[in-house]
């Protein structure tokens, strides 16, 4: 852990993502400093979620690279990227609905504490100890996100807001250095949105870098340190919230200036 | 005896393969009709073929009905069986999953097989060929007239189905169910009835396949399972849900089996077809004409 203050934890370097003839991403270029909250905004179809999928390894980019802590990661598999310390949530909730709230978070610990098939099968003391350790950590996270009292409920029985929160909790369980949140406030009411915002800040306060895709501008302006704006797969602006708010290009993109 | 040239042999292999493949294709088309509306793979599809053959034997040979009357009568009877299958085995299932539906159709096929054994016994039965049994010699190959009936009925089936799905309101409604059942029911389409209709249609097609193939291969009560497996293979090879895929898949399977048997080893002929099928899937995980996105949502 040397000099963590000004280091770029993530660098997106001229990434191109093409689906057939369609350019979902065309060479956006930006970096994320360790310890900040950075938001990615842009109109629908701007390529935000595609960018998340490239960063987390669901898509491998047609051109360009993504570097995490200085190392290129675009050729790695999704689970290997998760191992390195990037965690994410999904726009459409992807909880393990058949598992309990606690188990969802426990699964998040998968990258950090792993028992081998054999050790688990033979129920070796090491495996049992690890399992206990995971459970305690998961409970700690549940207390942090405020779902400890629902730990045994099936995940799909939670209301939408809590499911969103749980997804964030699950992402935190892997002790990521960077967490990518895909529209954490979508579909939430005002109170829930408020809870989500403070949770994002709390996560950041623990030293976790946050990359955020969000439509709710109140949330974005409230929590983020820096903003990147995408339109048609290209970066059109980058800077602190105040600057972005007044950037004519951004306003045009959002107002839908076609010409 | 006239001798046969290598070219004649090759042609003979192909024409036989296409005939056998046409039957597989018809079974595959039957799979697809139900699959498109319900995402169910109906493993009782082969039993419809068996029933088609045996009911036809009873009506045409047993009761002496003329071909032209026995043919539609058989189709109607088997269609009713198909509808019964939906009402008794599929629609009552409370919480359908891929596995429970597979098991339900397997159970239904066991039931149909058992009932057929009870009615017709275990012996094979024969049907007279539609236009006699005097073979035609063509390019050195010998072709039974019944081959033309088989291939012809495949073509007719494909044309009629295409017209049905593209030109009629009912057909369009069925396609809508396939694309999005929730939306379909919102616009007032009765999804349950569409499912029933899909079972009826695929049973009718199964019956046709059974009727035309029996004069070539005879028919007995336990023929269904093997036909279902081959037809399923054809449907998957072509891409589940795709009608052109079913036809191409069936013909390819038939041709590989036939050419493999003729040119390499008759013992391994089924294996050749299946190996090709597996490699196609490895290369193209949703079959030749299959839609990758469609295949992704079929969670098990």
């Amino acid at each position: 852990m040397n000099d963590t203050s000004n280091e770029n934890i993530l660098e997106v370097d001229k990434v191109v993502m093409a689906f057939g003839g369609l350019m979902a991403l065309f060479k956006p270029d930006f970096s994320v400093q360790r310890g900040i909250i950075k938001a990615i905004i842009g109109p629908n179809g701007a390529g935000k979620t595609t960018l998340f999928n490239v960063i987390t390894g669901f898509f491998s980019p047609t051109e360009g690279t993504v570097r995490f802590k200085g190392q290129p990661i675009s050729s790695l598999k999704t689970h290997e990227i998760a191992d390195r310390g990037i965690s994410r949530t999904f726009q459409t909730i992807e909880l393990f609905g058949n598992m309990s709230v606690l188990e969802n978070v426990m699964l998040g610990c998968h990258t950090r504490v792993r028992a081998s098939f054999m050790a688990a099968g033979f129920c070796l003391p090491g495996a049992r100890r690890k399992e206990k350790e995971i459970q305690e950590r998961a409970m700690k996270i549940l207390r942090f996100i405020g779902l400890a009292d629902k730990c045994n409920d099936p995940a799909d029985s939670l209301p939408l807001g809590e499911q969103k929160i749980l997804e964030i909790g699950r992402a935190l369980a892997s002790e990521p250095e960077l967490v990518c949140l895909d529209e954490p406030a979508a579909g939430l009411n005002e109170t829930e949105t408020h809870v989500a915002s403070s949770l994002i800040k709390a996560i950041n306060a623990k030293g976790v870098t946050v990359l955020l895709v969000e439509h709710d501008m109140k949330v974005v302006m409230n929590v983020s340190d820096e903003i990147v704006v995408l339109n048609y797969g290209q970066k059109i602006a980058e800077g602190p919230p105040k600057e972005i708010r007044n950037n004519p290009k951004v306003i045009e993109a959002y107002l839908g200036g076609d010409t | 005896m006239e001798t046969i040239t290598p070219a004649g042999q090759l042609f003979q292999y192909l024409i036989t393969g296409i005939t056998v493949g046409s039957i597989y294709a018809m079974v595959a088309v039957g799979f697809n009709i139900i699959y498109n509306v319900t995402e169910i793979i109906n493993f009782a599809q082969g039993e419809f073929v068996m029933l088609g053959g045996l009911v036809m034997v009873s009506l045409h040979v047993g009761m002496g009905l003329p071909l032209i009357a026995a043919f539609p009568a058989t189709m109607i009877i088997v269609t009713l069986v198909g509808m019964l299958l939906d009402r008794l085995a599929i629609s009552p299932i409370r919480r359908p999953t891929v596995l429970s539906l597979i098991i339900a159709t397997i159970a239904a096929s066991i039931l149909l097989k058992g009932t057929a054994m009870f009615i017709w016994g275990k012996d094979p039965y024969d049907l007279p060929a539609f236009s006699g049994r005097n073979p035609i010699t063509f390019l050195g190959a010998v072709i039974q007239p019944q081959y033309f009936w088989v291939i012809g009925f495949l073509i007719i089936t494909v044309i009629v189905l295409t017209l049905f799905f593209e030109k009629t309101i009912l057909g369009k409604a069925m396609s809508a169910c396939a694309d999005n059942p929730d939306a379909a029911s919102l616009v007032g389409i009765n999804v349950k009835q569409m499912i029933l209709l899909s079972f009826a249609l695929s049973a009718a097609i199964g019956a046709v396949a059974g009727i035309v193939v029996t004069p070539i291969s005879l028919m007995e009560y336990d023929r269904g399972a093997m036909l279902a497996v081959k037809g399923f293979g054809a449907a998957v090879l072509g891409g589940l849900g795709s009608f052109p895929g079913a036809v191409i898949g069936g013909l390819i399977l038939g041709a590989i089996e036939s050419l493999g048997a003729g040119l390499i080893s008759s013992g391994y002929k089924d294996a050749f077809a299946l190996i090709v099928l597996m490699f196609v899937l490895f290369y193209k995980p949703s079959g030749i004409f299959g839609d990758i996105e469609v295949s992704k949502i079929k969670r098990f």
């Binding site: 598999k77 998760a82 426990m106 028992a115 | 085995a89 098991i103 039931l111 299946l274 995980p285």
Partner: protein
Amino acid sequence: MLRIGKLPISTFAFLIIIFPWVAHQIPGIEHYTDVMVFAGIYSLITIGLSLLMGYAGQISVGHAAFYGIGAYVSGILTARYGLNPWICMLAGISVAGAVALIVGAPCLKLKGHYLAMATLAFGIIIFIVFNEEAEWTGGPDGMSGIPGLSIFGFDFDSVEKYFYLVWGFVFAAFVFSVNIIQSGAGRALRAIHSSETAANAMGVNVSGYKVLVFVYSAVLASLAGSLYAHYLNFINPATFDLFFSIKLLIMIALGGMHNLWGAVIGAGIITFLNYEWLHYFEEFEVIVYGAILLVVVIFFPDGLAGIPDMLKKRLGKH
């Protein structure tokens, strides 16, 4: 997902131990011990399949092949080359595991019905190989002269002894599988079943786990095959055909695939139905069998092992 505690497992062990004695006390069912040997052999396979299908959500319609590979490796190496049966059993497991690895890696990328077809094709291909490679396998006629099992001079030469041997293996496999299910690995399998996308993003090596559990189930099937071969002293390809793979599916579905107890109960019930009880219906046997399956699928979607939960829910409502 039931947590399986110590009490039910000890009850299970106790029932196994007393079964031959109880069967012997009741006139007319002495031979149930013999039937139970086969129920045990099938349970070994369904336990593995339960992990693969019920927990990881990957269908296989080709496990008769692995069962057959175990049986034939054991049969060929013992009857033709006179090797020690236990070594042959290990050899069978290695071969089945290796084949599962090679076939599983590309197959398990497929989903749903496509996966079903690929595994079904694999099963049929292996069946054809058993039939065709007569020099090794004896062809459709089968292969006899496979010796029985013994260890340190102790022969497993009676039905009871073999019963304890087989069910010892079943018990071990059961406990091993329960441990896996209740560990992080089991959680990962269920996560894969629920959402491969999310599991991947959480660092679960989805394809790796799928292949791993496929290999595990193949190994258990192969072990079952070896036990079968040494019990019957004879094997023929018909035992390992497509219909056996389907029968395994039926066992899993009937017992309840989201539950390891279901694997054992399903294997037991289907074995007894097929080998004992349906016998009384004679010509109607097939029809009754189909009807039973249908009723279970329609009314007990979670299989027989799901009935207690279902009753609990019903009673809870009132």
